[in-house]
Structures are given as C-alpha cells and as structure tokens.
Symmetry: C2
Subunit: 206 residues, 2 copies
C-alpha cells in the first residue's frame, strides 16, 4: 500500500493547447513534452534522466503504517519534469499544457562499498508518469505506470485512486509541489498555491 | 561525523584542458563548467538544479554509527553533474576535464501534508562541489563547501579527508559512481571501473 501502488505519482500538470504528437514507438518526440503512439499510449521518454530533478523521497507513504506490514527495504522516488515546463513554472508558479512528470522508483541499500548507515539508491523498480493535457484528459491530468521495463502504456483508469488523491490534496493545480522545496517557494511567491491546500491536512483519498 | 562533514562530495572529475574562466561574481559562466572569481574561488553555479541528477541518498554515513550519537533528522544528499560531462560519461565511462559535481544537502521530514511514513525533502542545509581539473589542482580533483548561502569559496585544503577518501575508495577515477546506479552500469560496460575498487571494502580513510 505504498504510494506508488496508489499511483500518487508525485506531480501533475494540465490544460489546453493539446498538441497531441503521434509518433512511432522508439522515435524521439519532436517536441519537449509527452509523445504518444498512434493508439494513444504514452511513450516512456528515453531521456527523462536528463530532465529537471525536483525532489526525491524515501519510503514515502500516504497511509498510516499497517501494524503487521512485512519488512521490505524502502524505495527511493525521484521526480523529474520536462525542462521547458520547469522553466515556465519558475517564472509563473503554474504548469503549462503538456507538462510531463516522471516518477522513478528505485530500491535502496544501506551497506555497500564504504557506506555504513542511511540509504543509497540501487535497482530500478518502476517508472510512472503524470501528464497535464486538458484537451485530452477529463480533469486535465492523467497518470501512467510503465512498470520496470514498459516502453508505452495507456492512462490508468479514472477510478484509480491517484486521480482523486491529487485533485484533493495537491498544493499547486494537481501537483504535489508541497514535496518539492524550491518549487514550493516559487508557488508561494507567485500566489499559486491552491486555496484548498492545507499543509497539515491528512490525506482525503481513503 | 556524517559524510558531508567529511566532504565526501559524492562525485568528482579531473584532467587537463584547464580552461580557467575568470568571471565577475554573479555573472553566468560562459562555458558549461566551473567558473572562478579572479581570486581563484569557485563560483556556486546559479543553475545547478537544472543540471543532470545522478542520485540521492538519505543519511549516508561512511563510518560505523556512534553508539551515543544524538538523534537528528537525517539529511538527503542530491548529486548533480554538469550536462556536457554527463553526456560524455554516458558515451565513454570517463569524466572529461572541467567536470563539476554539486552535492545539495537538505533536511528531511516524515509527517506533513498527506505524508505519514518515510521521508521527504525540506530546507536546504548546504551546497558542496567537486571539480576535475588536472592542470589546476594537485591530484586532479578539488572539493568545495559553500555552506548554505555561500556564493563563492576556495578549495578545501589538501589535508581534508575528502581527498584521500575519494582517491582510495572511488569506483571511477575519484568519483563515487558506485552510488550512481545508471552511471555504474555504463562504467561496467565501458570497463572504466578503477582496478583498486572493491564493492565490499570498508572505508580506508579512517
């Protein structure tokens, strides 16, 4: 029941413009935003690790811990956003149409090489995405789970918990900017924090 | 005694070329590498958060935990590298001259907004750097600590533990690629892992 199973992808984006790009799987997207197959599946960006990193977490969980949950090494969650949307956000505190976030989920380890305490990142577990496109998706945002090796995927169904959780709990539009320290400062300065956002409010997606 | 106090900046770079750039503090560096003041101090890059993220850790420690160490929230350590050096590493498994790494150290929190477990990133604690420049620095690499707000700083003295620790324990040249999962795969493929590197060897800097 950790957060990536609930597809709380950690960030979002949405609105008009809707320059849907149809590409052959494997080709580079011709614009710096989401690319789709002719069947409307989102193509996993090949170069997302060169995008702008906005934060990482370790073992984040939006639910109270289960009392008898099995022990498992916690996972790191790295959040990246496409560079042009990042630059626009830093100027306006808002996400432009065609923003795409990637959530990279990696296992952790504590003892290896010279490390003796804390946690460092190891194997890839999964890649997820969030896209803002108000013309394409109801509610303006959609969420995707590529798994570990998937190269393309359809949006998760509107019944997935990520949709309501992000709508109800996000700090800026549908994105969890409350967990991106430098972006949160920008949103506060620009006055773009959602009026409904409460930094002390427990999750309302349960 | 956590690792940033020991200036184990988490990554490095070095060699000739030595295109030392003298800039007025506050100006953007004219080349995508380290920039210096006329006094030879490294200028903190204004845009390092738009560089390529290579990993983060939480509470990493290269020493065995002290039995009575005071409790303190663990810190996240985000590692960035300048984009042109990243691209060259992905092709060759080696760091070009003028590579610069930034280590961004941030506090962590567990309960806030909807989060109930694990850790997310909060306030900035410090910014550190490592630069590869064989013409400028003995041993080819130098380490820097800007503190939280510093805009420029001289290299740490050669007696700082980071120098010997990186020389003796790094996986690729003087850089701790053993903690950068995707880069480690590249170095293995390219055959650029240091012959002296042992993934199970305890730290030799003590």
């Amino acid at each position: 029941m950790t957060f990536w199973n609930r597809c709380v992808a950690g960030a979002l984006v949405v609105l008009a413009g809707a320059m849907a790009v149809t590409v052959t799987l494997g080709a580079q997207p011709p614009v710096p935003g989401p690319a789709y197959t002719s069947a409307g599946e989102l193509v996993r960006p090949a170069d997302f690790r060169e995008w702008v990193f906005v934060t990482s977490g370790l073992g984040m969980n939006y639910n109270d811990p289960a009392p008898n949950a099995p022990a498992r090494p916690q996972a790191f969650t790295n959040v990246y956003v496409n560079p042009s949307s990042y630059r626009q956000f830093m100027q306006t505190g808002k996400w432009p149409e065609q923003t795409i976030f990637i959530l990279e989920i990696r296992s952790s380890a504590s003892e290896g090489s010279i490390n003796r305490g804390g946690s460092y990142q190891t194997d890839l577990r999964a890649v997820e995405a969030a896209v803002k496109d108000t013309a394409r998706y109801p509610g303006g945002w959609a969420y995707f789970n590529f798994g570990r090796d998937g190269e393309r995927t359809a949006p998760l169904p509107q019944t997935a918990s990520c949709y309501t959780c992000h709508t109800q709990n996000a700090a800026v539009e549908n994105s969890f900017v409350q967990f991106y320290p430098t972006l949160l400062d920008v949103a506060k300065k620009m006055g773009t924090i959602n009026a409904t956002y409460d930094p002390n409010r427990p999750a309302r997606h349960q």
